[in-house]
Symmetry: C2
Subunit: 558 residues, 2 copies
């Protein structure tokens, strides 16, 4: 007898014009999983879901020829605020397209027409020229509401802080829809919103495969559409060193896949940072040491440990050599440069997966161990290195993030260090979160969000169900969890497949990190996410489909 057939539903269309058509889903294609049913959410296509939102049935018209986004008189920002002017243009284009209705009638509209969106920055300093950052308040009182309130009553935004206003514009643009005649409308809607977690990050890896700047920028666009605010740039690793250093140009000249076509020049890096800044996104660079550094060794003599077989060097190299003064001279110069190139107040220092085999084989290191009384405990040598590195980076006035091993191995850390939890299954990472926060450190979760791991079907739901607060701990401990990061490691992705593989799967993580903890209805999420992914497609992002159906505007690329 045939296996049981699973029920499924086809779906309609973008925006608020969903139609639901029951159709059979075949065993041939669907013997592997159940799929949720598609319907219409009372929250339309909003993604991630705001903290408080009430959409009334009262609809207003918007006319592209007359609609304006303006600074309110009380706002501390004005037309000189380039970050906002640029956002006005971007969101106008998202809402109305590029060329529609030019030269139309611009006389005052009717009562039922919205002619203006006023934006109001309430803080004394608009911070228009600043880089987005975790403010001191935020970094100390996670996850307190962060002074981000949008009073969205017939079309006035008030925000404390400019980067958050960008996110308010995203919300506004998500509320605009087309009626059946194609006319643009928005319903009277009350929104109060703020992020649940201050750190909503996405890791891209440009070492396993080089990612052209164009690809990085497109993903920053998509991040802004999903209210991500941290781009974790895992820029170098064993496989290649595409970061062009001005102080040590040999690092990319010899360590990149190609010294011209496969590197990020200083201009490229600036462009990425500025593009991100205009979207309220911080860029945190990761230069992972002492492991994951094979590519560093090609352009920097004596930086890596020489591995031995008995008394003879094998010609291959291990982690950074922690016993030489030259190592620390190099690191001081290098991280001095990095701290100036990347304006964010944090640097990610890696510290994961240090393989002791090569260190163990090296006679000089053996001697050093004995001298320092480390016995045979190579974790002590690792700690020795990391502590010296942290002192170096600390002297640049940067805060640092590190992968969990550094904490696990008992390295002495500054109290504001962020421990990045990436290992294990739910039971294991819950324990780690509890341990990290019990020790008083800030924690960041990635374990359930390794989006490079793929499986057949709707695997976004797995990412959606994970929660950074699912561990045993006090309220004070929970507050130390500053958020999470979706990671897309680069072994199997490059420009050909990165973007559709990442989106809308990363959107699931985005909602978990932004919306209220009680937003857990997978069915409602499915309804909104289906529309949200079509919106991303319409905006030029090749986000892959969640299930059968179509978008009014399909992807125009290949």
């Amino acid at each position: 007898p045939a296996p049981p057939r699973l029920a499924g539903l086809g779906y309609g269309s973008l925006w608020l014009r969903l139609t639901v058509t029951p159709v059979g889903t075949s065993e041939r294609q669907e013997q592997w999983e159940e799929v949720p049913q598609l319907g219409e959410s009372r929250f339309g296509s909003l993604w991630p879901l705001p903290q408080n939102v009430v959409i009334s049935p009262v609809a207003f018209m918007l006319r592209s020829s007359s609609f304006q986004i303006v600074h309110s008189a009380e706002s501390s920002a004005g037309p000189g605020c380039s970050i906002l002017q640029s956002a006005f243009r971007r969101y106008f284009e998202y809402m109305f397209g590029y060329t529609k209705n030019q030269g139309g009638n611009t006389k005052k509209g009717q009562d039922s027409e919205v002619t203006e969106l006023q934006v109001w920055i309430t803080s004394a300093d608009s911070e228009c020229d600043a880089y987005p950052s975790v403010t001191s308040d935020e970094s100390c009182e996670f996850p307190e509401p962060m002074n981000f309130l949008i009073f969205f009553t017939c079309f006035l935004f008030a925000c404390f802080y400019t980067p958050l206003l960008l996110l308010g514009l995203e919300t506004f643009s998500q509320l605009v829809y087309e009626d059946q005649y194609g006319a643009k409308k928005i319903n009277k809607t009350d929104v109060q919103d703020f992020p649940r977690f201050a750190h909503r990050g996405l890791l891209l890896d440009s070492s396993r495969h080089f990612l052209p700047v164009k690809v990085i920028l497109a993903n920053l666009e998509a991040m802004a559409m999903n209210k991500y605010n941290v781009f974790h740039w895992h820029i170098v690793d064993d496989n290649s060193f595409p970061y062009e250093s001005t102080v040590f140009p040999d690092l990319s000249r010899k360590g990149a896949y190609h010294p011209y076509t496969h590197i990020y020049t200083p201009t490229d890096v600036k462009m990425v940072i500025e593009f991100a800044r205009m979207r309220g996104i911080r860029v945190i660079s990761e230069f992972d040491t002492p492991g994951h550094t094979q590519s560093w060794g090609k352009g920097q003599m004596d930086l890596l440990t020489s591995c031995y077989s008995g008394e003879n060097p094998t010609g291959s190299f291990g982690p950074v050599n922690p016993i030489l003064n030259s190592t620390y001279d190099f690191m001081a110069k290098f991280f001095k440069e990095v701290s100036l190139v990347f304006p964010d107040t944090y640097i990610h220092l890696g510290g994961d997966e240090v393989d002791f085999t090569c260190w163990k084989s090296n006679p000089d290191i053996q001697a050093f161990m004995q001298e320092h009384g480390f016995d045979k405990d190579f974790k002590k040598l690792e700690s020795y290195y990391i502590q010296k590195l942290l002192d170096i980076v600390g002297s640049t006035k940067k805060g640092y993030m590190i992968w969990q091993e550094v904490f696990d191995n008992g390295v002495k850390l500054k109290p504001d260090t962020i421990i990045h939890v990436w290992k294990g299954n739910e039971e294991q990472y819950s324990k780690e979160l509890a341990a990290v926060t019990a020790a008083g450190f800030h924690a960041l979760l990635s374990s359930p969000w390794y989006l490079n791991r793929i499986s057949y079907g709707q695997d976004w739901t797995v990412a959606y169900k994970a929660d950074p607060h699912d561990f045993n701990g006090t309220d004070a401990q929970k507050k130390l969890v500053i958020g999470g990061e979706a990671c897309l490691w680069g072994e199997y992705v490059d420009a050909t497949n990165l973007t559709p593989r990442l989106w809308p799967r990363a959107s699931a993580v985005a909602e978990r990190l932004w919306s209220n903890q009680n937003v857990t209805d997978v069915g409602d999420a499915y309804n909104r996410l289906t529309q949200h992914r079509c919106r991303m497609v319409a905006r030029g992002i090749p986000a892959e489909p969640l299930f059968v159906g179509y978008c009014d505007q399909e992807y125009k690329g290949l």
Copy 2:
């Protein structure tokens, strides 16, 4: 203790300039699988591997300003053969790019320079204007060598049959490489080649998601690069009916996702067929009945069975209604049209996954069953329908392919029917292949090649290891296996992600169907496939990476 670390290798570059750099692969990214090591194949970047090939170290130069592809004097084809002229241009562009070296020196070259590739069609009829087909010889004597011999001795091809010559040009283009100065070269190489299986198909599904024509054409390009010769167009299904019928225009008007933006017009279909023909690819359309037809019912009254709850119709519909004369009138007219629109001598009639629930509920069908003495055996009703359908299609002089259930259910079939095996694991599909061929029918395998199913890592190796002859049967039975098809069902793919998800995974199936049965070295395949995928990328196909590394020419799209 940490899980064991797996060894891996980075790799160099496109063409024949591979360098091998040992680097660590991290547990963080690689706890799920072993990965093969990358090196250089003595067969360069050839894919799929020819039956016999000897590459000598003697290299010749090629100059884009003087190199020509010409018809040999003995050939039955000449400059009037549009299919070859078009292929000459295509392969010239693949080998030399679009704009290089215009107006260069055209005087006669040196001894070490190849100035000409002569092509020679040896059959009396060049078949330049014909559609590619399975010749009667081929379809009866699989897998005999099919008169396809390339005597590739300092640059003369001789082929019996024009479409096979296209494949020879692909081989030639794969032998051209750049030396370290960027100069184009080709080594003296002897090739004798023919496909192991005559039917090397790829199924795309344009019903679960509409696939823009542009996407279909790009995948036909990629198919030609992999010597696929059958595009199985699963054009309609439950979810939508994008095929615009001239006789029954309501089918797409009401059954497509959108009657204008999400349909294939007659011109679109012609374009796809002609584009395929120019690449030696047959287009076999599938119009699956009596199940998988929900979308048909929207534009064709009374075609589908009305489902009942007790004595009342529920308002929903089941498979095609097999008891009405109007059904067969419709099918006769519809398949008459289809047989004219699609020139291939075969049509795929589906016949899979018929759900009897609705038929069982319908009182008229119950009465009909009793009248015909079918008792409660709905397989007999299914057979009744299918046999009438086969008679209808048989009268159009087409051969037919059907999914395995039609055979399993004992429907009477013409001896040249092709049974498409899609169900089960290796044990199950081996049994099915044995049963189908024991009954004297031709078999086509897809079970191990459902490429819509994805998993993390190098899943191409699983597809690569499957073999259509791995079943218990006589030589005569083995000859009845005409080949296989890779299937990419459309639930989770559309224009955003189809192409990188399919390639180069479908390349693994292509080699299995083309090359000698003893070509099973996964390591050698990995080395060649890595280069082959970079070649596809350079030719504009966003084929995803197999593992870490880079291509000299990365993908330029998003």
